[in-house]
Structures are given as C-alpha cells and as structure tokens.
C-alpha cells in the first residue's frame, strides 16, 4: 500500500518575462488502487503538475511538498523518483535516436530492479506486453519513439507502465490523439496494471471519453493552477454536459 501526498504545491517556470507561477497550491492524495481523474481546460497547469512530480528541470518548486510513503520526492533526482515507484506516461514521449526499444526497456528494467532481468524470462515478458497492446514484435528493434505514430507512442508508454510496475502512475493526456480502438487497447493496459500491481493512477485529461474505459474513483477539476472542485465519477458526467465554463472565471 503506497500513498503519494501532494501538499500546497507551488511551482513556477522561467519565461522571458521572469518567473511565472503556474501551480498555486495543489493538494492531492493518491493511494494504491485508486484512480484520480484530473480534468480542466488547456493551460490550467495539469501537465505542470505531472512534470513537477516527475522532476523535470524546467519547473521550479516554490513551495509545498510531495511525499511517497513519507519519503521526500522533491529531494530526489529524476531516476530516484522512478526507483521510488513513480511513473509518468508522457503526452509527447521523446525520440532517442539510435537506441532500440528493446535496449531501452532492458536498461530501464535493470535500473529499477537492481539487476539485469534474466534474458529468457525478459524476452517473454516483453513479448507478452507487446502482444497485449497489439504491437508488432518488430517494434522492439525500432529506435525509441523515432518515427512512431501518435498511437504507437502511447502504446509504448503503457507498455513501459506494465513492464516497469510502478506504484503510482501519472498519465498525462494519454488519450489525446488516439482513435477509438487504440483508446480501448491503451485503457485495457492501464486497467491490467491496476489489477495486477494495485497501481494508483492519476489520469490527466480534457475529455471524459477515456473515463468510460478507466473508471475514476475521484474526479478533480483543475483551473488556474489549483483544484477548484472535487467529486466522484458523476462529476465527470456533469463536466461532459456543462464544460469548464463555471470554473475558468476565477
């Protein structure tokens, strides 16, 4: 059982016009097995929250705390956060030329598990994970995210989620750019990780569509750098009909 606690998190980013505060005090607690949907309009700071927790150097923590089972996440390097059990599925996964998916995955698994996975079982693990996401086996030989379609990038992210077995995962607009079939396949992958590993999920999205496949326990509405309303799955239904208009004025 793990708990990610975000307390009064304030984050700024450097711009040409100086530091701009994007997160203005975010409180959120995610426990193993729970799914939290964070919804909100463009520019409300949802992705900033995701990248700040993962430790992207672009963001400066101005105040507040993030802990995972009591350990200070903000004090950890990016790789230490992953080793502690955090995972970020990125909206725009980065190309790494010349590095094959298979080499990348094995290097990551070795780092996270503290020893190189046994080649025989590992090959099977990767093959199963790829099959489950309807991916061509040849995918393993391609360079990381290079020339991938939008859908392939997202499948690759979720494949990592299943293979690397984090405690808490943040999915940053994993649904964007996916057609209906791909959305279903990717959602099933997330649900498998939830069932198998009791994964806690933070699902960042604009749209309620993905929530038909991944059922949220909590819905948080994000606006102007903070959470402005919280509720259960029914809050998403309300947003579906009324939009974010009620929240963007403040």
């Amino acid at each position: 059982m793990s708990t990610l606690e975000i307390r009064d998190l304030k984050v700024s980013v450097d711009t040409d016009a100086g530091a701009v505060e994007i997160l203005k005090g975010v409180d959120l607690t995610i426990k193993s097995g729970q799914t939290h949907a964070i919804m909100g309009p463009n520019g409300s700071g949802k992705s900033t929250l995701a990248y700040s927790i993962a430790g992207h150097p672009k963001y400066t923590i101005v105040g507040g705390s993030v802990t995972l089972d009591g350990a200070d996440v903000l004090d950890m390097t990016v790789d230490e956060r992953a080793k502690a059990g955090l995972f970020l599925a990125m909206q725009y996964p980065v190309e790494v030329p010349g590095v094959s998916v298979s080499n990348f995955l094995r290097t990551a698994a070795t780092a996270l598990r503290g020893e190189a996975p046994k080649l025989r079982t590992w090959t099977g693990e990767v093959k199963d994970a790829m099959q489950a996401l309807n991916m061509d086996p040849a995918f393993a030989f391609r360079n990381v995210n290079e020339g991938f379609s939008g859908g392939e990038k997202k499948r690759h992210e979720i494949m990592q989620l299943e293979l690397l077995k984090p405690k808490i995962a943040i999915l940053d607009e994993t649904d964007s750019g996916l057609d209906v079939d791909a959305l279903r396949i990717v959602s099933e992958g997330v649900n498998r990780a939830k069932d198998k590993n009791n994964l806690g999920v933070v699902l960042i999205t604009h749209y309620t569509r993905i929530l038909q496949y991944i059922k949220p326990d909590f819905v948080h509405v994000f606006s102007n750098g903070r959470i402005v309303e919280e509720g259960g799955a029914d809050l998403a239904d309300k947003l579906e009909t009324k939009g974010y208009a009620d929240y963007v004025s403040n």
Binding site: A54, G55, H56, P57, T77, V78, D79, R81, A82, K83, F87, L88, M90, P93, V94, E95, V96, P97, G98, V99, N103, F104, T107, A108, A111, L112, N143, Q160, L164
Partner: protein, 360 residues
C-alpha cells in the same frame, strides 16, 4: 634530416588546409624534421583468399597531391604495400590489415595501395593501433564495376601522431564505401578524398570520431565530381569531451562543369559533451553546373538534449547511463554499418570507457 625539394612547401599554419592543425604536435612530419625510421608497420592478418595478394612493390602514385606531407612520403618511400584483389573475385570474408606502431622517436613514411580489378568485390579492414609517428599515403583504385567497403579504425595509443590521405579513384560504375573511425591518438589528421574518373560511380564516406581531453582529430574530406552521373554521400558524426578536445571536419565537395547528373549530400553532426571542447565543422559545396540531381549539406553541433535525458531518467535510468545510451545511440547509425559484431562491440566498449574516464 631530409633535404627534399618539397621543403619549401613547409606549412606555416596560415594556409587554408593547415589553419586548424596544431603543427607542433605533428612532431616534424610537416617540416621534414622528424628523424626517419625504417619500419613498415602494416601487415596482413590471417590467410589471404584466392585472388588476393599483398606485397611490397615499386609503384608510381595513382593521383597527384598538393599535400606537403604526401609529397614528402613519396619522395622518401618508393616502396608501396600493395593489396590487390584480382578482377572478378568476390571475397566474402573481410581482408584484415593490421598495424601495431612501436616507435615514437622516429617517423614512418608509409605508402599503401589497395586496388580492385574489374568487378571485384571486397571488404578491407585496416586496424591501426600502437604508438607511432606515422605519415601515410594510402591510395585506393577501383576498376570498373568493382565494389569496396573500406573500414579504417584509428585505435592508436594516446601518444600517437597519424597524418594520412586516404584517396580513392573510382572508375566506371564502381562503388566505394568507407567507414573511418577515429578514437585514439594524440593527433590524427586524415584526408578522406575521392575522385571519379568515369561516369556511374558512387562513394559513401561514413565516419565517427570521439575526442577526449587534449586530443586533436581532423577529417578533411574532398569529393571531386569531375565526370557526369556519379553519386556521393558523406556522413560523419563526432563527440567530444574534456578540456581541449578538438575536432575538425571539413567537407569539400566540388561539382565541376562536366559533372552533370551529380547527386551529392554531406552531413556532419557533433555532440559536445562538456565545456572546454571545440568542434569545427565546415561544409563547402562548390557547384559549376546546374544540371545536377541534387546537392546539399548540413552541419550541426549541439549538446546533450535535456528532454532525452529526462525521458530516460524518468524510467529509472541514472544520469550516467542515460548519457551513455544517448552517445551510443548517436554513433549507432554509423558504427553498425561496420557489420562485424566483434568490432562494433569493441568500439562501443571503448566509447563507454572514454566517457567514464572523462566523467561526462
């Protein structure tokens, strides 16, 4: 002391061809003051296949050169180590030439010829190792319809000085591919040059160089499109780390008025892994006819991409391992072209080791 007629050509460093090269570190190879040794360090490894011969011969140069060191070598050494692949021979296994330099106090002036008869096909690998002061005039003759893959590995010890021209003369419909790898030596200056003497030929010049603190590696490419319908591709990738690591890449491509239907592209990419290193990159395309298929060049010099490192680290990979992956990946495109597992692995391990030593 040599008293050759070419002494008046002694470079001063102000010439275009020498403006990047630290002349002092050539240790007398450029001005003829190096004492002359009497070694021939190149040897053929393993048994030669039928159709392949390797011997010392007296040969006239294949092509002229305005490089003062090449002129000097020719004045000093009438003998040429000649690797010949007979016409119509297809040699399936790579032909290995080895070199273990063993003298730093006197210079070796080496002449090498690799010649392929008509329609011969071969892969030649030249492995340069050891500690030496070496000037080399290497000429490659491709007869009509022949195909050569020529891989040179500069894995010298860190004290070595190597200055050479690797000049290919490409006859009708012949295909030349070279992979020039430079990872060792104090100063390495190679002129990979190509001239097409009949239509239909192609040349692909690939290269990788990795310089660490204090090393100087220069690759000065020249592709001469003097005849119609020839194709050339140049792709060199370099990485540098450490104080005063310095690399120079010059890509001169000349498309003469007669060279209609030319298709050429050259690319140089450099990765600066630390402060205090310097990569010079000068692509230079000279076009005397508009009747060509294509001509282009690109040159980039950059640092580690923070987004790439963040992505890898967010999967638990340490900063050091992430950098190692990125550098390996950067070189991978060219190094895998060597196609020989043992050499690929050796080079990758060497790159890892150099990175580790440099603490990049």
């Amino acid at each position: 002391m040599s008293l050759l007629a070419t002494n008046y050509l002694t470079p001063t460093g102000r010439e275009e061809a020498w403006r990047f090269t630290p002349l002092k570190r050539l240790r007398g190879l450029h001005d003829g003051l190096a004492s002359l040794g009497n070694h021939t360090s190149l040897y053929s490894r393993g048994n030669l296949a039928t159709g392949v011969s390797f011997s010392l011969e007296s040969l006239e140069p294949l092509a002229s050169s305005d490089d003062v060191i090449i002129e000097r070598i020719r004045g000093i050494s009438p003998q040429v180590s000649h690797l010949h692949i007979a016409a119509n021979s297809e040699i399936s296994e790579p032909i290995l030439l080895g070199r273990r330099g063993a003298a730093l106090d006197s210079a070796e002036h080496s002449r090498v010829r690799i010649s392929l008869g008509a329609h011969a096909v071969a892969t030649v690998i030249m492995e340069n190792t050891g500690a030496c002061l070496l000037a080399e005039d290497l000429e490659i003759a491709l007869a009509p319809g022949s195909r050569l893959s020529f891989i040179t590995l500069q894995e010298f010890e860190s004290t070595s000085v190597y200055t050479a021209r690797h000049h290919a003369v490409i006859d009708k419909d012949a295909q030349f591919k070279s992979i020039t790898i430079t990872v060792g030596g104090d100063l390495v200056r190679i002129l990979p040059t190509v001239e097409f003497i009949s239509p239909g030929g192609s040349a692909e010049l690939l290269g990788v160089y990795f310089a660490t603190a204090g090393q100087f590696f220069e690759h000065r490419i020249h592709v001469d499109h003097a005849v119609p319908h020839a194709k050339s591709r140049v792709n060199f990738k370099g990485a540098l780390t450490g104080r005063d690591a310095h690399t120079v890449w010059i890509g001169d491509v000349l498309i003469r008025a007669a060279a209609e239907g030319t298709d050429t592209y050259e690319l140089n990419r450099n990765l600066l892994l630390s402060d205090g290193a310097r990569a010079d990159s000068v692509p230079n395309l000279e076009i005397e006819t508009g009747e060509i298929i294509g001509a282009g060049h690109a040159s980039t010099t950059g640092r580690f991409d923070d987004e790439q490192l963040f992505y890898l680290m967010s999967r638990g990979i340490s900063l050091e391992d992430a950098k190692r992956l990125v550098v390996r990946g950067f070189f991978n495109e060219i190094i895998t072209e060597i196609g020989i597992e043992e050499i690929i692995n050796r080079l990758m391990v060497r790159i890892d080791t150099e990175l580790e030593k440099a603490g990049a």
